[in-house]
């Protein structure tokens, strides 16, 4: 969100050509009760920096697992995942934690705000594990809350906020460490259509004005319509991208 709205076309275009995400023949197999289940059966996918993409598919198609792998919460059984040119397969758990902290912001279907912390404290949470100095972090948190229209609610607990307000807090939280990539897992799944439109509008703004790469996993057509690229997952494979 720090990039000006009228950013020159040239750098934005050149960034758009840069590849942020490169998945090469990624598989993911779980062993349950001695029976292997293949959830991803060879996914090859490139996503460029600055894209706004929706990953769609019926439940059980593997789209959630794909999102977990993109978010470095899960590792591929085989194949490679390069994020910003780095091979993530070679990183240990702590390095993955740092990379998640610095490069990825998460938005979840059920918000996952810490119930005993205020809205502002929730926004600052990823910053606690970063190198940003305390005062600068706090200023940034307050500015982000203002951008999602919740300055007045900074001291409220999640239980005092509506669903839409909670998801806006979660969006501000995803942005606090200024990551390149925003991953949203069914971000409108628990919201009514008006509130959903609000949240998707905010994600579109984040993509357009701040140049963040936004990937939304959803099974909802209306939500997916905000994205400029639709990726369809079926039976663990990319059916259409």
């Amino acid at each position: 969100m720090n990039a000006p709205a009228d950013a020159p076309a040239a750098p934005a275009a050149s960034r758009a050509r840069e590849t942020l995400i490169e998945l090469a023949d990624v598989t993911r197999t779980y062993v349950m009760a001695d029976t292997p289940h293949t959830v991803l059966a060879g996914v090859t996918l490139d996503i460029a920096a600055g894209e706004f993409a929706a990953i769609m598919g019926p439940s059980g198609s593997g789209k959630s697992t794909l999102l977990h792998i993109l978010g470095l919460l899960d590792r591929p059984t085989s194949g490679s995942y390069r994020l910003g040119g780095r091979d993530t397969g070679k990183l240990d758990d702590d390095a993955l934690s740092r990379l998640r902290n610095q490069a990825i912001g998460f938005v979840f279907q059920s918000f996952y705000l810490v119930p005993y912390a205020t809205a502002l404290d929730n926004v600052l949470l990823p910053g606690l594990y970063s190198d940003t100095p305390g005062a600068a972090l706090r200023r940034r948190g307050e500015a982000l809350l203002a951008q999602v229209g919740l300055s007045a609610q900074a001291g409220h607990k999640p239980s005092q906020l509506s669903g839409g307000q909670q998801q806006r807090v979660a969006l501000a939280r995803a942005l606090v460490n200024d990551p390149d990539l925003i991953l949203a897992d069914e971000p409108t799944g628990q919201l009514d259509s008006a509130t959903s439109a609000e949240i998707m509008g905010l994600l579109a703004t984040v993509n357009r004005e701040a140049g963040k790469t936004v990937i939304v996993v959803t099974h909802d057509q209306a939500t997916a319509a905000y994205a400029r690229r639709q990726i369809l997952v079926h039976d663990g494979r990319i059916a259409k991208s």
Binding site: D93, V114, A117, L125
Partner: protein, 421 residues
């Protein structure tokens, strides 16, 4: 871990930053936190009482040794330890005392004593039942390292004349005279008028567990006691002997025993008909007396602390499974396993530290009432605080580590899924 070890400053900053959240989490679960604090407080209270009572017992023992004198022994008639049936307890004679004074090497004072028990003291219209009236030779106060609050000690002349004079202990002086000085006053010891010439300083020692204080006594010349109360003129009850060199006290005891056996014509197979007591015997007795209580309290404290630890561990496991979603989220946004371990250990530490402070307060209150009941002598020292803080840290680390590690080891996907849907 690698990130943390690569940059200790970064690890410290994260540790500092998560403290506020740790405290907020504890405040959010007040009942649970209070339960852990109470459980730890019980253990630390028991620990406080035990440490204070061990210190108290040690100080009391040192006071008693100091009072008895490390350079002295006491000889009593009769064999106290074996107490053979029918054995006389009046076996020490004036001839023994003279022989010891004359021929025992290293001894510089030989002080025969006898006593009578339960005598009524009267002054004006006030009565006081004194548990013991001691008959002593000259310089009683000096021989017992017992300072005089006022007046003078018994003199050689008092003993030679059988003078009707006495030293008064703090307790009867208080009972009969209140705050007024007893010096020069004449009190009735049973039916004998006796003039008070000195008042012994307050000693404040009680015999093992009894409520009779050592301050409740009257001291008169042994000659006066013998003549006026018709006591046996040949024998007396006890003999106090002081030596020049306290380091040689064991040798002195052996010599004394050999001499008395010779004087009493005891054959090689006969038992002693006297008992020699030195400061080390008194210490042994006191240690045995308080030892049982100390062991009981020690086991209680240990059990209470372990119970506190298990309460902590269980409620932390509950907390970890309840806060799965929070843990998953923290991992997703970049908290390392070490950061999560540190957060849960910090929460544990806050609880045990609060419990330890509450426990010290509780222990002090408990100790006060125990010592008021005369069950224990307590001595509170900074050691108590240091030990209970150490106990808090140990409980938090030993019992908090497993739940904290469980939180750190959670799979973020599983944790986030478990938190909802």
């Amino acid at each position: 871990m690698t990130a943390a070890s690569r940059s200790p400053r970064r690890a410290l900053r994260i540790l500092w930053r998560i403290q506020r959240m740790a405290l907020l989490a504890l405040l959010a679960h007040k009942a649970r936190s209070a339960f852990v604090i109470a459980a730890v407080a019980m253990g630390v209270a028991a620990l406080t009482v035990i440490v204070a009572s061990v210190d108290g017992a040690r100080r009391k023992a040192l006071e008693i040794v100091d009072f008895f004198g490390p350079d002295a022994v006491m000889v009593l008639g009769g064999d106290i330890e074996n107490r053979p049936v029918g054995q006389r307890i009046y076996t020490l004679t004036w001839a023994d005392a003279r022989a010891v004074a004359r021929s025992l090497p290293g001894a510089y004072a030989v002080l025969p004593m006898r006593s009578i028990r339960q005598i009524t003291l009267k002054y004006d219209n006030r009565n006081h039942e004194s548990p013991v009236v001691v008959g002593a030779t000259e310089n009683y106060a000096r021989a017992w390292n017992w300072p005089l609050a006022e007046g003078r000690d018994l003199s050689e002349e008092d003993v030679a004349r059988g003078a009707k004079v006495a030293l008064i202990g703090d307790e009867p002086a208080r009972q009969l005279f209140g705050d007024a000085s007893p010096l020069g006053r004449t009190i009735m010891v049973k039916n004998l008028p006796v003039q008070i010439v000195g008042r012994l300083a307050y000693r404040g020692l009680s015999g093992g567990g009894s409520d009779v204080t050592i301050d409740d006594r009257i001291i008169m010349p042994i000659s006066t006691l013998t003549q006026r109360f018709n006591l046996d003129r040949k024998y007396f009850r006890g003999l106090r002997i002081k030596f020049h060199d306290p380091d040689l006290i064991d040798t002195h005891k052996d010599n004394l025993r050999a001499l008395l056996r010779h004087l009493h014509h005891l054959g090689p197979t006969d038992n002693d008909d006297f008992t020699i007591i030195s400061a080390s015997e008194i210490l042994k007795f006191l240690t045995a007396f308080t030892g049982g209580l100390v062991a009981f309290l020690g086991i209680t404290a240990g059990v209470a602390i372990v119970v506190g630890g298990f309460v902590l561990a269980n409620l932390m496991f509950l907390s970890v499974s309840e806060r799965k979603a929070e843990i998953g989220l923290r991992k997703a946004v970049g908290a390392s396993g070490a950061a999560l371990t540190a957060q849960f250990l910090s929460e544990a530490l806050y609880l045990t530290l609060a419990g330890s402070l509450a426990g010290v307060a509780l222990g002090v209150a408990l100790g006060e009432s125990l010592s008021r009941l005369g069950l224990l002598q307590l001595r509170l020292s900074p050691k108590v605080f240091v030990l209970s803080l150490a106990a808090a840290v140990v409980i938090a680390l030993v019992f908090g580590l497993r739940p904290a590690r469980k939180a750190a080891a959670m799979d973020p996907i599983e944790a986030l899924r478990g938190g909802d849907d």
